[in-house]
Amino acid sequence: MTEGQPVQQAQTPAPATPPIVPSYNPKGPFEATVVFNKPLHQKFYRLGLQFAGPGAEAFAKTRPGQFAQFDLSNIALPPADAIPEELKDESARQILLRRPFSFARVAKEVIPSAHSAPGQTAHPKPVSSGVGKIIAEVVYCVLGPATLRMTTLVKGNPINVIGPLGNGFTVPAGKKRALLVAGGMGSPPLEHLAQVLTLEHPTMDAIAFAGAKTKEDLPFDRPLDNLSREIGFWLKEFGRYSISSFVATDDGSAGFKGFVSACILDWLSQNALSFNPAEAIIYACGPRSMLTTIAKLARDKKIDCQISMEEMMACGIGLCQSCAVKCVAPVGGGIPAGDKSPTAETYKLCCKDGPVFDAKEIVF
């Protein structure tokens, strides 16, 4: 894990009073309520979940990059004629295990007040515990029997959630520039990070890069809004936080033609004069091949880099030991789990030690 303290803790020192033992399990399971389940385009959806009571207390503290485990086993399938041809076979499978999702945005529920002007958009407020309800938003892609079931969720449906789990992105001291790098379905935690950077690090100069195979594979709402593109905030998911964005597609169907790493190199060469690697940090989430390239780019350019890893997991809470990530064992620092040789590789758990790791830790 990264050496840096979680952002929240760095800003507010821990209270001296002993911790109060909560009357509920701090990580759930909680019952959330669906508030919206909006199709974006292609196979992408954005799901809004409302947490109240203890669930709101727990999820108000969600850090970007953390995840939650959803129980989707009891959710109905869509009618046969609404099941895509390529999922007809898979859709017959039963769901046993929970499915992990990270969040795209977590905010206090804003109740429109009688005094606010019609159409006024509510600005996200810093989430704090103990008050109100929390809306946590997830972006998902329909890829298998579980996500197919998710498409049938409608407003008011309950969904059983465990979380927030794992460790999220952190902001080490002295960082002034953040490069948010998303590959395919890796964008939600970076969108959440954009929200949190805006709230907690308003002076951070952040920029987002989103890559995908084609424009159809970009998990955003209307990714090709040309008006937004002209004013520099192409992806409104980042633009809403005044963070400008670049799009890269392998086939050139939108934005830069090529891998997102090439797009970053291009941007770095154009901004070489104003760019100080020591003050910059890369945050990345996406397919392993992309993370491998980004980690190498960061190492070559001497830029700190945090990456969010993904592994098949059964429980998400450290019980099953499935989600092993091969890491460089620390030299001289702490005892590496599983092997005491200081130069050896070691496995860490994606769910407990990650999913966010310092890129230098990962053995690709």
């Binding site: 129980d71 059964a314 099953c320």
Partner: protein
């Protein structure tokens, strides 16, 4: 007002508050599960396997979901007995239920060495002998499938574990589980736990390769429950009935009714495994559910249900 039900069971001389345990490898060393439930409510707790040296485990993918089940090939990843004693054992001391340490190894000497290192630890009620792990190249299931070896290893570890109880965990991947159960009893087992996972495989038809990096894994979850109930009943009828040797029944237990089936089949206590992954507090619900069943059926003590299938 509910009636007073006696939920306690006697398990090879141990008095357990109730018959519900968590199964080895699905509940870590108790610290993780403690975030979701009061582990002191359990009747018994079995740690993840401990080996003489630390083990990193297999490459990933280590799991794959199947219909109503899952395959795992973790490969006995664990911190090793020294770090287990230093780092994990102190937390287990706080638990009020029976704590069993699952021990594994590649050779009989490995198993004996782990038992010797741990047999003086007060917190440990006994050992579960893992001779049924399907996911390691040496040891594990190789011991568990050959009756002569089952007897030999049981006897060797029994003589190394002092006053601690020895429970032998049996694999279902044999022609007749009663034969290996008998061999364990002859070797001196104080209790039997069954069943471990079934060796199984899932193939990705696009890549035409097995999904798991280990190629095969152990099948667990609700899919195996009816077979597990049958095997518990078979071992009860052919080996343990009328003896002082209890069975810890397991395999796909998700609900209280699943647990009651195992008890009726002949299990003195039951262990919950895969379901902890889905619902980490499910054991508490199962304990409550058994209580309710007893109440509804005029059963005054849960032990009266043991082996009562007609």
């Amino acid at each position: 007002m509910e009636n007073q039900i006696d939920m306690s069971v006697e398990f090879a001389g141990l008095k357990l508050a109730n018959p519900v345990w968590t199964a080895s490898g699905t509940c870590g060393y108790a610290d993780e599960l403690g975030e979701f439930m009061d582990v002191s409510k359990l009747g018994g707790f079995i740690t993840k396997s401990v080996t003489i040296k630390p083990r990193q485990g297999n490459p990933t993918p280590r799991i794959v979901e199947t219909d109503n089940g899952m395959l795992n090939a973790i490969g006995l990843a664990n911190v090793g007995v020294d770090e287990f004693i230093a780092e994990k054992l102190p937390a287990l001391e706080k638990m009020s239920c029976a704590v069993f340490v699952n021990i594994a190894g590649e050779t009989i000497e490995d198993y004996v060495a782990v038992a010797q290192r741990l047999c003086e630890q007060k917190v440990i009620a006994g050992f579960e002998l893992n001779i049924s792990c399907p996911n390691v190249k040496q040891g594990g299931i190789t011991f568990g499938t050959q009756p002569a070896l089952v007897k030999e290893i049981t006897s060797a570890v029994k003589s190394a574990c002092g006053s601690k109880m020895l429970m032998v965990k049996l694999t279902p991947s044999v022609t007749d589980i009663a034969v290996t159960a008998k061999a364990a009893v002859e070797g001196g087992a104080d209790a039997l736990s069954l069943i471990n996972t079934f060796t199984a495989m899932v193939i990705d038809i696009e890549t035409r390769k097995p999904v798991l990096a280990n190629r095969t894994g152990g099948l667990s979850g609700p899919a195996i429950k009816p077979i597990a109930v049958y095997m518990v009943n078979k071992v009860f009828n052919e080996v343990t009935k009328g003896t002082q040797i209890p069975i810890l029944g397991m395999g796909g237990i998700r609900t209280a009714s699943d647990a009651i089936e195992f008890i009726l089949a002949g299990a003195t206590a039951v262990a919950v495994g895969t379901s902890n992954f889905v619902e980490p507090n499910c054991t508490v619900k199962i304990i409550d559910g058994i209580h309710k069943y007893c109440d509804n059926h005029g059963v005054v003590a849960v032990r009266d249900l043991i082996g009562k299938v007609e």
